[in-house]
């Protein structure tokens, strides 16, 4: 089933960490397997934030060796970043297997991502100026507390509560997906894509990499591919409604925009609230109500509808 949510503050910042936690916790019944956040903070001058993991949560229960391996993998990441000429600003550790680095880097981001992910067990969750992507097993409150997301200030965010149907219960298959290798682009999705393998093979022939077998990752890769060809976000999303087959509603966020697209059957739910200051979207209105307790006017976007908002 899955639940998705998005919010954007127009022209201001807020505690989007707490807001998204409330929204996703309200959608917990739609998917208890994992929860993910893509939060867009306030970028520092030319600095990148990289969120990455060196193991799955489940791996940490698999014996003693893994604890040595995650330390070695992190050291290897550090070594490779240093080799590439990255100027490290801050190293943070959210969990034993998940890290947050802030650095400056003028080189090619795809090279950096490929070089880092070449290390066994290492996966970059996101790289961005403002984007910080956090996902783990458990409900929103658990993940938010684990990664200390309350008080995270920013302009916009998307999130996901997952009910695993066609791929594993692990961080790799959790949403959101970063649209590798583009800074600050992330995707969450509710639905099933029926032409997943056809499009995946096409994307792989075009040089894109997939980290999971989750159909939602395809949307992130698809959007990245279109943006890479110079297409505008909204145009790419409009095209996706024709080219992605199946039932879906998905949200995309970039450094300063938030977009939603719904399939031509309008088979997956989405409720929308829009005002001059704030836009909130969720699979269920109860999520929007969790941050807007007063009476508000909401509606369902229609079949094939694509909308994009500016921060």
């Amino acid at each position: 089933m899955c639940g998705i949510a998005g919010l954007i503050h127009r022209g201001s910042t807020a505690d989007i960490g707490s807001e998204m936690t409330s929204m996703l916790q309200s959608l917990k019944h739609r998917g208890p397997d994992s929860t993910g956040f893509a939060l867009y903070g306030i970028p520092e001058n030319n600095q990148h934030v990289m969120r990455f993991k060196v193991a799955e949560q489940e791996d940490m229960k698999s014996g003693f060796d893994i604890h040595r391996q995650v330390v070695e993998r992190q050291k290897e990441v550090d070594g490779r970043l240093e080799y590439l000429g990255v100027r490290m600003v801050e190293r943070g550790e959210a969990t034993a297997y998940s890290h947050r680095y802030i650095f400056s880097y003028d080189g090619d981001m795809r090279n950096l991502a490929d070089y880092v992910e070449d290390i066994e067990g290492v996966e970059i969750l996101s790289i961005g100026h403002g984007l910080e992507l956090v996902k783990d097993l458990g409900d929103a409150a658990t993940v938010s507390q684990q990664y200390d997301l309350d008080g995270f200030r920013g302009t916009h965010a998307i999130g996901h509560t997952r009910m695993a149907t066609e791929s594993d219960v692990d961080i790799r298959s959790a949403h959101p997906y970063w649209a590798y290798p583009f800074s600050d682009v992330s995707v969450v999705h509710n639905g099933q894509l029926t032409n997943y393998w056809t499009l995946r093979r096409e994307m792989e022939r075009r040089g894109h990499r997939f980290m999971s077998n989750c159909d939602s990752e395809l949307i992130a890769v698809y959007i990245a591919d279109r943006i890479g060809d110079g297409e505008d976000l909204e145009a790419a999303m409009v095209r996706s409604v024709d080219e992605l087959d199946g039932v879906f509603t998905y949200l995309v966020a970039t450094s300063d925009r938030l977009g939603m697209a719904k399939d031509v059957m309008a088979a997956k739910p989405m409720v929308l609230y829009e005002s001059d200051e704030f836009v909130g979207l969720a699979s269920e209105e109860v999520a929007i109500r969790s941050v807007f307790p007063k009476e508000i006017e909401t509606w369902d976007p229609y079949h094939g509808e694509v909308k994009v908002w500016q921060a």
């Binding site: 059957m265 309008a266 739910p269 209105e285 109860v286 009476e295 369902d300 229609y302 079949h303």
Partner: protein, 279 residues
């Protein structure tokens, strides 16, 4: 918009009469004689209670409504339902019920008899399987609005999502604004009135029933064809919309009518054994 070439009278599409259970508004608080279940509670509409649902669960809200009905309260106001799911369901009783706020999914489902007023919005599948009574929503509604309703009036003054009246088996659905794709999908009986526009595949695979649209129709679904409006229908539309102070921008006289073409396989009158031979 599909071609208007076909004359619905020529195609024999006017068998359904504007009479019978689906055309009635079953319950009025002022009337003495009304249909009730033998186990329904005797309520007094002059007895009014209200409560704040802000911190209550859906189950607690529903149990509170039931408890008040058992105590003979006939007019109940629920404040702050906060878009909770499955609220106001399974009420098989005369009752005046008002929700001050919005409901989530499956609000007011499986009801038979109450008059319900929702001042906010409703989520997916509002009034699913409603048997009788009225449910009136002041703002918008989500998809599968009035799925499989069998009677009563279901009214949304705003816009409605997709698949409105899917599998509708009776009653009347009234929409003040627009309705989404696949409205009237597999409709079997009853009437749907859309004052605004209708999305694509209107009336797809409908077996019977009638859809009236005031605005533009994106396109018609399989076996849904334009019908010819009669005077009796115009009178009925005027009366029915007037009950809820609704009117399409184009005027009732300019509304369009859509019915089942009845050309699908299920109308071929073949016996199952004959179908096997054909297949």
């Amino acid at each position: 918009m599909a071609s208007l070439d076909h004359k619905s009278h020529d195609m024999g599409l006017h068998a359904e009469q504007l009479a019978g259970r689906t055309q009635q508004r079953f319950f009025s608080a002022t009337e003495e004689e009304n249909f009730t279940y033998p186990w329904s509670h005797e309520v007094d509409f002059r007895l009014a209670e209200e409560f704040d649902a802000d911190t209550m669960t859906a189950t607690e809200i529903n149990l509170k409504i039931r408890e008040l009905m058992q105590n003979g309260v006939g007019t109940i106001t629920v404040r702050n339902p906060r878009a909770r799911h499955g609220v106001g369901v399974g009420i098989l009783n005369r009752l005046n019920l008002k929700f001050e706020g919005s409901l989530g999914y499956f609000g007011c489902g499986l009801v038979d008899g109450p008059n319900i007023h929702i001042t906010g919005r409703v989520g997916w599948s509002c009034a699913e399987n409603m048997m009788a009574g009225t449910v009136v929503i002041d703002h918008n509604a989500g998809s599968t609005f009035g799925a499989a309703i069998r009677g009563g009036d279901l009214v949304c003054r705003g816009d409605v999502g997709s698949r409105t009246g899917i599998d509708q088996k009776g009653g009347t659905i009234l929409i003040g604004g627009r309705t989404g794709a696949f409205s009237g999908f597999m409709m079997q009986r009853g009437r749907m009135i859309v004052c605004g526009d209708a999305g694509k595949n209107l009336g797809d695979s409908m077996y019977d029933g009638t859809i009236y649209v005031g605005g533009e129709v994106e396109d018609l679904g399989v076996d849904c064809v334009p019908g010819e409006m009669t005077d009796i229908e115009l009178d009925w539309l005027t009366a029915k919309l007037g009950m809820y102070d609704m009117e399409p921008a184009c005027g009732i006289a300019n509304m369009k009518k859509f019915v089942a073409g009845k050309q699908l396989w299920n109308y071929d009158n073949l016996e199952p054994s004959e179908k096997k031979l054909v297949l």
